[in-house]
């Protein structure tokens, strides 16, 4: 009885430690690229549409689900063509847009404003993909 409780506590501590480690890695990567000053928001979404980490203050759940639907549908399209999905770009009329990239077991979403160039956002996406791709 005592042993199982101790094991449970150890397990919880380990999970918290690793979560904090991932959170720090995510924050550091974003700070290093100075995405805040570019007005770019970042969202990390699980394959099943649940948000993992985000710099967004609100509406992240809905956006996470919507981005997953787009990414999964696009992935299925590529699969039908015998290709592998790299990223998806959703562009609005002069008001920025969204870039969704495939990581190993999640999706990386970058929301860029109208003031930001798509090319630069794609550059940031590649950098983030390199840093976070191994973990997520």
């Amino acid at each position: 009885m005592m042993t199982t409780s101790v094991t449970k506590i150890i397990l919880i501590v380990v999970v918290i430690y690793f979560t904090m480690l991932l959170l720090t890695k995510f924050k550091r990567a974003i700070e290093r690229l100075d995405l805040k000053s570019h007005g770019i928001e970042v969202l990390l979404v699980g394959e099943d549409g649940l948000p993992i980490l985000s710099t967004l203050s609100s509406e992240e759940d809905k956006l996470a689900a919507m981005c997953t639907v787009i990414a999964v549908s696009s992935e299925r399209n590529m699969q039908e063509l015998g290709k592998v999905l790299d990223y998806v770009v959703i562009s609005s009329r002069g008001e920025g847009g969204i870039v969704i990239a495939r990581l190993s077991s999640s999706y990386l979403v970058l929301i860029y404003p109208s003031s930001e160039k798509l090319g630069l956002t794609l550059f940031f996406m590649r950098k983030l993909k390199k840093e976070l791709g191994e973990v997520f």
Binding site: G46, E47, D48, G49, L50, D61, K62, A64, A65, M66, T68, V69, V72, S73, R76
Partner: protein
Amino acid sequence: MKPIRILVSGPLGAGKTTFVSTLCSSNVFISTDRAVTSPIEKKYKDVTTVAFDFGVTRYSNVKLMLYGTPGQQRFFYFIPILMRQCEYLLFLVDSSSVASVYRGRALFERYFRRKLGHFKNFLIVANKTDLPNPLPLEEIAEIMNVNLNKIAKSVAKDKNSCLRVISKLLEPIKAKLMVNSLRREILK
């Protein structure tokens, strides 16, 4: 005859993907299943539909296009988008679980009850009737607040059972389907 579009909806774990795949796996079947990451959701199932399921099959020489909705609440915004395309509705519930039927009622009330006029016909499908202690159809009709003749039972893994549900759903146009079938035979 124009293809018939059927929306297959229902709560989480009702058997929508299985239903569409059983009917369409020999023709066209597109699934967007992904592994579940949440431990709470993992209790119900290991993989879940993200986006939609899509399948094409033939019934009485008519092309049937089936659209399966996702069961997770966060994807429910996708239901009205899919609903616009479809003329018929199959609403699946897990008849072996009272909780699933009640979850189905909530979903049905929220998205379908007021839009039933949009569909040419609809059925509440009591799925998983092969499992032990399934709820009687009368009870499901009472919980779902629909007429008993709008309830059909099925086992989504069994193609014949799925075809019986389709047959009941398309009963109002049975004569039209027969004429279409005869015309095809004559033209052959």
